[in-house]
Subunit: 136 residues, 2 copies
DNA sequence: ATCGATGCAAACTCTTTGCATAGCA
DNA sequence: TGCTATGCAAAGAGTTTGCATCGAT
Protein backbone atom coordinates (compact mmCIF):
# COMPACT_ATOMS: atom_id res chain seq x y z
CA UNK A 1 0.00 0.00 0.00
CA UNK A 2 1.19 3.52 -0.75
CA UNK A 3 -0.18 7.07 -0.74
CA UNK A 4 -1.34 7.08 -4.33
CA UNK A 5 -3.04 3.70 -4.21
CA UNK A 6 -4.77 4.70 -0.99
CA UNK A 7 -6.17 7.90 -2.49
CA UNK A 8 -7.15 6.05 -5.66
CA UNK A 9 -9.12 3.56 -3.60
CA UNK A 10 -10.97 6.40 -1.90
CA UNK A 11 -11.83 8.05 -5.20
CA UNK A 12 -12.90 4.81 -6.85
CA UNK A 13 -15.36 4.15 -4.03
CA UNK A 14 -16.83 7.63 -4.33
CA UNK A 15 -15.20 9.16 -1.30
CA UNK A 16 -13.74 12.61 -1.54
CA UNK A 17 -10.05 13.32 -1.63
CA UNK A 18 -9.67 15.98 1.00
CA UNK A 19 -6.50 17.61 2.18
CA UNK A 20 -6.93 15.96 5.57
CA UNK A 21 -7.18 12.52 4.02
CA UNK A 22 -4.10 13.22 1.96
CA UNK A 23 -2.28 14.28 5.09
CA UNK A 24 -3.29 11.12 6.89
CA UNK A 25 -2.28 8.88 4.00
CA UNK A 26 1.03 10.72 3.91
CA UNK A 27 1.61 10.09 7.60
CA UNK A 28 1.02 6.36 7.26
CA UNK A 29 3.23 6.30 4.21
CA UNK A 30 6.09 8.16 5.91
CA UNK A 31 5.87 6.15 9.12
CA UNK A 32 6.37 2.46 8.54
CA UNK A 33 5.16 1.62 11.98
CA UNK A 34 2.06 1.03 14.04
CA UNK A 35 0.29 4.25 14.92
CA UNK A 36 -2.66 4.74 17.23
CA UNK A 37 -5.28 7.35 16.42
CA UNK A 38 -3.81 9.60 19.06
CA UNK A 39 -0.32 9.08 17.67
CA UNK A 40 -1.52 10.14 14.22
CA UNK A 41 -3.19 13.15 15.75
CA UNK A 42 -0.03 14.10 17.61
CA UNK A 43 2.00 13.98 14.41
CA UNK A 44 -0.64 16.13 12.74
CA UNK A 45 -0.57 18.68 15.54
CA UNK A 46 3.11 19.25 14.84
CA UNK A 47 3.36 18.92 11.07
CA UNK A 48 0.02 20.19 9.75
CA UNK A 49 -2.36 21.33 12.51
CA UNK A 50 -6.06 21.68 12.00
CA UNK A 51 -7.38 18.12 11.93
CA UNK A 52 -9.57 17.12 14.82
CA UNK A 53 -9.16 13.84 16.65
CA UNK A 54 -12.68 12.88 15.56
CA UNK A 55 -11.71 13.17 11.93
CA UNK A 56 -8.62 11.09 12.53
CA UNK A 57 -10.80 8.38 14.05
CA UNK A 58 -13.36 8.59 11.27
CA UNK A 59 -10.84 8.41 8.48
CA UNK A 60 -8.82 5.66 10.10
CA UNK A 61 -12.04 3.69 10.33
CA UNK A 62 -12.82 4.38 6.68
CA UNK A 63 -9.30 3.46 5.61
CA UNK A 64 -9.60 0.21 7.50
CA UNK A 65 -12.95 -0.62 5.90
CA UNK A 66 -11.47 0.00 2.46
CA UNK A 67 -8.50 -2.20 3.25
CA UNK A 68 -6.02 0.65 3.14
CA UNK A 69 -5.00 0.13 6.74
CA UNK A 70 -4.75 -2.95 8.89
CA UNK A 71 -5.23 -2.91 12.63
CA UNK A 72 -3.47 -4.49 15.56
CA UNK A 73 -4.34 -4.07 19.20
CA UNK A 74 -1.45 -3.05 21.40
CA UNK A 75 -2.27 -2.65 25.07
CA UNK A 76 -5.86 -1.71 24.66
CA UNK A 77 -5.27 0.76 21.84
CA UNK A 78 -5.86 0.02 18.20
CA UNK A 79 -2.77 0.63 16.10
CA UNK A 80 -2.70 0.86 12.35
CA UNK A 81 -0.34 0.70 9.42
CA UNK A 82 -0.65 0.41 5.65
CA UNK A 83 -1.90 -2.96 4.56
CA UNK A 84 0.79 -5.17 3.13
CA UNK A 85 0.08 -7.30 0.13
CA UNK A 86 1.10 -10.64 1.56
CA UNK A 87 0.12 -12.53 4.67
CA UNK A 88 2.72 -12.19 7.36
CA UNK A 89 3.12 -11.51 11.05
CA UNK A 90 4.78 -8.57 12.73
CA UNK A 91 7.84 -8.24 14.88
CA UNK A 92 6.96 -5.16 16.88
CA UNK A 93 9.33 -2.85 18.71
CA UNK A 94 7.47 -1.86 21.86
CA UNK A 95 9.56 1.33 22.13
CA UNK A 96 9.21 2.95 18.71
CA UNK A 97 6.43 0.85 17.16
CA UNK A 98 8.51 -0.13 14.16
CA UNK A 99 7.24 -3.27 12.52
CA UNK A 100 9.38 -5.84 10.76
CA UNK A 101 8.01 -8.76 8.86
CA UNK A 102 8.25 -12.28 10.24
CA UNK A 103 8.80 -14.61 7.34
CA UNK A 104 7.20 -17.72 8.74
CA UNK A 105 3.56 -18.28 9.66
CA UNK A 106 2.91 -20.73 12.48
CA UNK A 107 -0.34 -21.85 10.87
CA UNK A 108 1.74 -23.60 8.24
CA UNK A 109 2.92 -25.91 10.99
CA UNK A 110 -0.40 -26.43 12.76
CA UNK A 111 -1.27 -29.94 11.74
CA UNK A 112 -2.66 -31.24 15.01
CA UNK A 113 -5.75 -29.10 15.58
CA UNK A 114 -8.74 -30.82 17.18
CA UNK A 115 -11.00 -32.45 14.63
CA UNK A 116 -14.12 -30.43 13.97
CA UNK A 117 -12.58 -27.10 14.93
CA UNK A 118 -13.21 -24.57 12.18
CA UNK A 119 -10.36 -22.07 12.12
CA UNK A 120 -11.39 -18.57 11.10
CA UNK A 121 -8.33 -16.58 12.07
CA UNK A 122 -5.13 -16.38 14.01
CA UNK A 123 -2.77 -13.88 15.53
CA UNK A 124 0.97 -14.17 15.91
CA UNK A 125 3.02 -11.25 17.09
CA UNK A 126 6.47 -10.98 18.59
CA UNK A 127 7.34 -8.06 20.84
CA UNK A 128 10.65 -6.64 21.93
CA UNK A 129 13.20 -3.89 21.51
CA UNK A 130 14.69 -3.26 18.08
CA UNK A 131 18.43 -2.75 17.73
CA UNK A 132 18.06 1.02 17.49
CA UNK A 133 16.05 1.27 20.70
CA UNK A 134 17.86 -1.07 23.04
CA UNK A 135 21.34 0.03 22.11
CA UNK A 136 20.64 3.65 23.00
CA UNK B 1 -5.13 -23.76 39.09
CA UNK B 2 -8.25 -24.76 41.02
CA UNK B 3 -10.66 -23.26 43.55
CA UNK B 4 -8.83 -24.46 46.64
CA UNK B 5 -5.40 -23.39 45.47
CA UNK B 6 -6.78 -20.00 44.51
CA UNK B 7 -8.32 -19.41 47.93
CA UNK B 8 -5.16 -20.71 49.63
CA UNK B 9 -3.12 -18.19 47.69
CA UNK B 10 -5.40 -15.40 48.85
CA UNK B 11 -5.16 -16.48 52.48
CA UNK B 12 -1.41 -16.94 52.37
CA UNK B 13 -0.97 -13.40 51.13
CA UNK B 14 -3.15 -12.00 53.90
CA UNK B 15 -6.26 -11.36 51.83
CA UNK B 16 -9.62 -12.29 53.23
CA UNK B 17 -11.65 -15.22 52.01
CA UNK B 18 -15.03 -13.68 51.42
CA UNK B 19 -18.10 -15.34 50.04
CA UNK B 20 -17.83 -13.20 46.95
CA UNK B 21 -14.26 -14.26 46.28
CA UNK B 22 -15.29 -17.87 46.74
CA UNK B 23 -18.09 -17.37 44.26
CA UNK B 24 -15.74 -15.84 41.73
CA UNK B 25 -13.17 -18.61 42.12
CA UNK B 26 -15.99 -21.10 41.70
CA UNK B 27 -17.10 -19.46 38.48
CA UNK B 28 -13.63 -19.62 36.96
CA UNK B 29 -13.30 -23.19 38.11
CA UNK B 30 -16.64 -24.27 36.62
CA UNK B 31 -16.10 -22.42 33.33
CA UNK B 32 -13.00 -23.57 31.52
CA UNK B 33 -13.15 -20.66 29.18
CA UNK B 34 -12.22 -17.04 28.76
CA UNK B 35 -14.53 -14.74 30.69
CA UNK B 36 -14.63 -10.97 30.64
CA UNK B 37 -15.44 -9.06 33.81
CA UNK B 38 -18.92 -8.44 32.46
CA UNK B 39 -19.35 -12.12 31.62
CA UNK B 40 -18.44 -13.05 35.18
CA UNK B 41 -20.87 -10.48 36.48
CA UNK B 42 -23.64 -11.82 34.26
CA UNK B 43 -23.12 -15.34 35.57
CA UNK B 44 -23.21 -13.96 39.09
CA UNK B 45 -26.45 -12.08 38.44
CA UNK B 46 -28.12 -15.38 37.62
CA UNK B 47 -26.50 -17.83 40.03
CA UNK B 48 -25.73 -15.77 43.11
CA UNK B 49 -26.77 -12.14 42.82
CA UNK B 50 -25.40 -9.42 45.03
CA UNK B 51 -21.89 -8.81 43.75
CA UNK B 52 -21.28 -5.47 42.12
CA UNK B 53 -19.41 -5.09 38.87
CA UNK B 54 -16.80 -3.02 40.71
CA UNK B 55 -16.04 -5.90 43.02
CA UNK B 56 -15.75 -8.25 40.08
CA UNK B 57 -13.20 -5.92 38.51
CA UNK B 58 -11.31 -5.47 41.76
CA UNK B 59 -11.10 -9.17 42.52
CA UNK B 60 -10.23 -10.13 38.96
CA UNK B 61 -7.39 -7.63 39.18
CA UNK B 62 -6.27 -9.08 42.50
CA UNK B 63 -6.49 -12.63 41.18
CA UNK B 64 -4.39 -11.65 38.21
CA UNK B 65 -1.75 -9.99 40.40
CA UNK B 66 -1.54 -13.13 42.51
CA UNK B 67 -1.17 -15.27 39.42
CA UNK B 68 -4.50 -17.02 39.93
CA UNK B 69 -5.85 -15.79 36.62
CA UNK B 70 -4.21 -15.06 33.32
CA UNK B 71 -5.50 -12.49 30.86
CA UNK B 72 -6.00 -12.35 27.12
CA UNK B 73 -7.41 -9.46 25.16
CA UNK B 74 -10.28 -10.35 22.87
CA UNK B 75 -11.72 -7.48 20.87
CA UNK B 76 -10.92 -4.73 23.27
CA UNK B 77 -12.08 -6.60 26.38
CA UNK B 78 -9.81 -8.36 28.80
CA UNK B 79 -10.75 -12.00 29.24
CA UNK B 80 -9.54 -14.25 32.00
CA UNK B 81 -9.20 -17.88 32.94
CA UNK B 82 -7.37 -19.87 35.60
CA UNK B 83 -3.63 -19.86 35.11
CA UNK B 84 -2.26 -23.05 33.63
CA UNK B 85 1.05 -24.38 34.81
CA UNK B 86 2.85 -24.62 31.48
CA UNK B 87 3.54 -22.21 28.64
CA UNK B 88 1.14 -22.76 25.78
CA UNK B 89 -1.08 -20.89 23.37
CA UNK B 90 -4.87 -20.96 23.14
CA UNK B 91 -7.23 -22.21 20.49
CA UNK B 92 -10.24 -20.01 21.18
CA UNK B 93 -13.84 -20.64 20.18
CA UNK B 94 -15.21 -17.23 19.30
CA UNK B 95 -18.75 -18.44 20.00
CA UNK B 96 -18.53 -19.93 23.47
CA UNK B 97 -15.07 -18.78 24.57
CA UNK B 98 -13.86 -22.30 25.26
CA UNK B 99 -10.09 -22.55 25.22
CA UNK B 100 -8.11 -25.55 24.12
CA UNK B 101 -4.38 -25.83 24.41
CA UNK B 102 -2.16 -25.60 21.33
CA UNK B 103 0.72 -27.96 21.82
CA UNK B 104 3.32 -26.18 19.74
CA UNK B 105 4.86 -22.76 20.30
CA UNK B 106 5.94 -20.89 17.19
CA UNK B 107 8.83 -19.29 19.05
CA UNK B 108 10.54 -22.66 19.02
CA UNK B 109 10.78 -22.30 15.25
CA UNK B 110 11.81 -18.66 15.12
CA UNK B 111 15.42 -18.89 14.16
CA UNK B 112 15.67 -16.03 11.71
CA UNK B 113 14.93 -12.96 13.82
CA UNK B 114 16.84 -9.80 12.91
CA UNK B 115 20.15 -9.53 14.70
CA UNK B 116 20.00 -7.14 17.62
CA UNK B 117 16.29 -7.52 18.23
CA UNK B 118 15.67 -8.28 21.89
CA UNK B 119 12.53 -10.39 22.19
CA UNK B 120 10.49 -9.75 25.32
CA UNK B 121 7.24 -11.49 24.52
CA UNK B 122 5.00 -12.99 21.95
CA UNK B 123 1.36 -13.80 21.31
CA UNK B 124 -0.06 -16.65 19.31
CA UNK B 125 -3.76 -17.34 19.27
CA UNK B 126 -5.99 -19.26 16.90
CA UNK B 127 -9.66 -18.39 16.59
CA UNK B 128 -12.59 -20.29 15.20
CA UNK B 129 -15.68 -22.32 15.96
CA UNK B 130 -15.35 -25.42 18.11
CA UNK B 131 -17.11 -28.60 17.05
CA UNK B 132 -19.96 -28.02 19.52
CA UNK B 133 -20.68 -24.54 18.21
CA UNK B 134 -20.44 -24.92 14.46
CA UNK B 135 -22.35 -28.18 14.29
CA UNK B 136 -25.41 -26.73 15.99
C1' DA C 1 -25.87 22.96 -5.86
C1' DT C 2 -25.32 18.58 -3.75
C1' DC C 3 -23.96 15.43 -0.68
C1' DG C 4 -20.10 13.90 1.75
C1' DA C 5 -16.47 15.63 5.26
C1' DT C 6 -15.49 18.00 9.43
C1' DG C 7 -15.63 20.14 14.22
C1' DC C 8 -17.78 20.34 18.44
C1' DA C 9 -19.88 18.38 22.16
C1' DA C 10 -21.98 14.68 24.07
C1' DA C 11 -22.53 9.80 24.57
C1' DC C 12 -20.80 5.11 25.07
C1' DT C 13 -17.94 1.11 26.68
C1' DC C 14 -14.69 -0.79 29.58
C1' DT C 15 -12.17 0.06 33.57
C1' DT C 16 -10.42 2.42 37.73
C1' DT C 17 -10.82 5.23 41.98
C1' DG C 18 -12.56 7.96 46.30
C1' DC C 19 -15.24 7.58 50.05
C1' DA C 20 -18.28 5.80 53.44
C1' DT C 21 -20.03 1.50 55.23
C1' DA C 22 -20.21 -3.46 55.98
C1' DG C 23 -17.99 -7.62 57.29
C1' DC C 24 -14.07 -11.00 57.99
C1' DA C 25 -10.10 -12.31 61.16
C1' DT D 1 -11.69 -4.26 67.39
C1' DG D 2 -9.06 -3.26 63.34
C1' DC D 3 -8.41 -3.28 58.85
C1' DT D 4 -9.93 -5.15 54.51
C1' DA D 5 -13.76 -5.75 51.20
C1' DT D 6 -17.64 -3.84 49.10
C1' DG D 7 -21.16 -0.65 46.95
C1' DC D 8 -22.11 3.58 45.03
C1' DA D 9 -21.04 7.23 42.29
C1' DA D 10 -17.95 9.62 39.70
C1' DA D 11 -13.97 9.90 36.85
C1' DG D 12 -10.88 8.42 33.10
C1' DA D 13 -9.26 6.58 28.60
C1' DG D 14 -10.29 5.31 24.05
C1' DT D 15 -13.73 5.56 20.69
C1' DT D 16 -18.18 6.65 18.41
C1' DT D 17 -22.14 9.57 17.12
C1' DG D 18 -25.67 13.60 16.32
C1' DC D 19 -26.00 17.80 14.42
C1' DA D 20 -24.92 21.98 12.16
C1' DT D 21 -21.64 23.82 8.94
C1' DC D 22 -17.98 23.59 5.56
C1' DG D 23 -16.16 22.18 1.28
C1' DA D 24 -15.06 18.88 -2.74
C1' DT D 25 -17.09 17.47 -7.09
Amino acid sequence: MNRTTALDMLARKGYKITGKRETMAHIFWKNHRLLSARAVHNIIKVDSPGISLDTVYRNIRLFEELGILEATELNREKHYCFTSSDHHHPLICIDCGTVKKIEICPMDHMLDLPKGFLVTGHKFEVYGHCSDCHSS
